[in-house]
């Protein structure tokens, strides 16, 4: 047989092997955790309070903590992010200001999460005396999520056809009215995708969250109280060997949440393409 053809066949085989290995890894990780953790999941696990530092009982406070953190972070980051995106796409011409803002947003995206943790701990918790609290955690996380939201919103707004805008101006609307009533609603699916991706990131962060929200295992009632998220709970359960079963259960919940978030983001994105 021709040497070229042999090489071709081997190449295709090896490339296929790459994908196979990648998916094998994906299934190995998710499969192992789900297999050991699904058995832990029950209504009690999700709604009960933990006992004995997490050895028994459920993970309810951590679910509350996670949701609380995500919600407050979104309240801070979404307005800033979307409004920033509007400014960057609708209001500026090319120039040094635009470049500076863009550079800053890209830099924010590149800063490792531990540095956010370092900063958040020293600035929010100690210096501003906010203490270990949902607020400290949310402020820190909001700035971590900001680049994702800004980028996704920018893409979404940019892809709104100019014809929509021109039509609106022709009808006598001002710029802001156009943005509010025409551009934003059209860009909404893309913006929401960005928000969902930002949520995914927030749920998964651990180091900055321990440093700014603490690790107290109670339900937080106000934003000034400390709290524990599921990611932090998993880390503590696993590293301290408190309960591997509960750790698997927590990891399973996390994975399910992430799969759901991914699915949701894909769904919304597909809706956007069809619009």
């Amino acid at each position: 047989m021709d040497k070229k053809l042999i090489e071709q066949k081997i190449a295709v085989f090896l490339l296929g092997a790459c994908i196979a290995i990648t998916f094998f890894l994906l299934i190995a990780v998710i499969g192992h955790i789900l297999q050991k953790g699904l058995g832990q999941i029950s209504v009690e696990f999700l709604l009960e309070e933990p006992r004995d530092m997490g050895r028994e009982g459920g993970i309810f406070p951590t679910i509350v903590g996670t949701i609380y953190l995500v919600v407050i972070s979104l309240i801070i980051s979404v307005p800033i992010g979307v409004l920033s995106a509007i400014y960057l796409t609708e209001y500026t011409r090319k120039g040094p200001i635009l470049k500076a803002i863009r550079f800053a947003t890209e830099s924010l995206a590149g800063i490792p999460s531990i540095i956010f943790g370092l900063f958040g701990f020293t600035f929010f918790v100690i210096f501003l005396k906010l203490g270990w609290s949902v607020l400290s955690g949310s402020l820190t996380l909001a700035f971590m999520m900001l680049p994702t939201i800004v980028r996704a919103s920018e893409e979404a707004i940019k892809s709104v056809p100019d014809a929509y805008r021109l039509g609106s101006f022709a009808l006598g609307a001002t710029k802001w009215q156009t943005i509010r009533k025409v551009v934003l609603p059209t860009a909404l699916p893309g913006i929401i995708t960005g928000i969902i991706l930002g949520i995914g990131r927030a749920v998964g962060e651990t180091a900055p969250v321990i440093l700014t929200m603490g690790s107290a295992l109670r339900i937080p009632w106000t934003i000034m109280q400390p709290a524990r998220t599921m990611s932090v709970h998993l880390y503590i359960l696993a590293s301290e060997g408190i309960s591997m079963e509960k750790a698997y259960g927590t990891a399973t919940v996390l994975i399910i949440v992430v799969i759901f978030i991914n699915f949701l983001a894909n769904f919304v994105m597909r809706k956007m393409i069809s619009v």
Binding site: K129, W132, L217, R218, P226, S239, E240, G241
Partner: protein, 287 residues
Amino acid sequence: MQRILLLALVVILIGGLLAGCGQDQPSNQEGQNDGAKQGEKQDEILSGTITIAGSTSVQPLSEELRKVFEEKHPDVTIYVQGGGSSAGVKAAANGTADIGAASRKLKESEKEYGLTVITIARDGIAIAVHPSNPVEGMSLEEVRKVYTGEITNWKQLGGKDAPIEVVTREEGSGTRGAFEELVMEDSKITDNAIVQPSNGAVRTTVASSENAIGFISVGFLNDEVKGLKIDGVEPTAENIVAGKYPLFRPFNYLVKGEPKGIVKAYIDFVLSEEGQKIVAKDYIPVK
């Protein structure tokens, strides 16, 4: 130019707002005094929050104590978290926590923070190995040599022919600090030792490795690991009280300034007969 001024103005406003926000925090010492006045007026109805942070050795005990205290005073919420003894000292000193928990004495450099030290219990340090390890005990000198890296194989101690996996705690650990003071004296722990960030993590590491050795709070001993006899003495509370087991250290609660309000009430409870009975379950009361 106008924009930059506008920007600066709003930034200053937000900064001021956040700083002001911080001062209203109820679990600050100042807030505590208000709570104290409230507490005194309303007889015994205490309310407010207390944050206890620091030693992972003290953590399980704090959890036990706070459970009972909260049952007596349902309007008080106590947050307990770990981080290590030095983290507890730091948190108490800068006000992040109301009570810092440390499983060692204060260092010289920490004495300038103005912290009141209240010893609430005493605890031993156990040298733990895997249950299948044939070695039953060591001398204090041998422990030191293992940790400096002088002794590297279990067969040198009468065990299997296998390299010793030394496990230690992070530098801020009170257990490590006490261990260094009691066992290492002036020698340094080998920098080949695996570092784990809590009692639980050390125990897990030792429990999952037949050749590992690590030091943990006696309160953390369970059937996952075996506590070695040191100079022939088993690591039990009785032996510590009798002065036979050499490795023990205080559990200290650290408060900035004098304890007031609900913090004082909680500490009084811990030192009371009822509180010390809870201590005595797994640790040694301060009599």
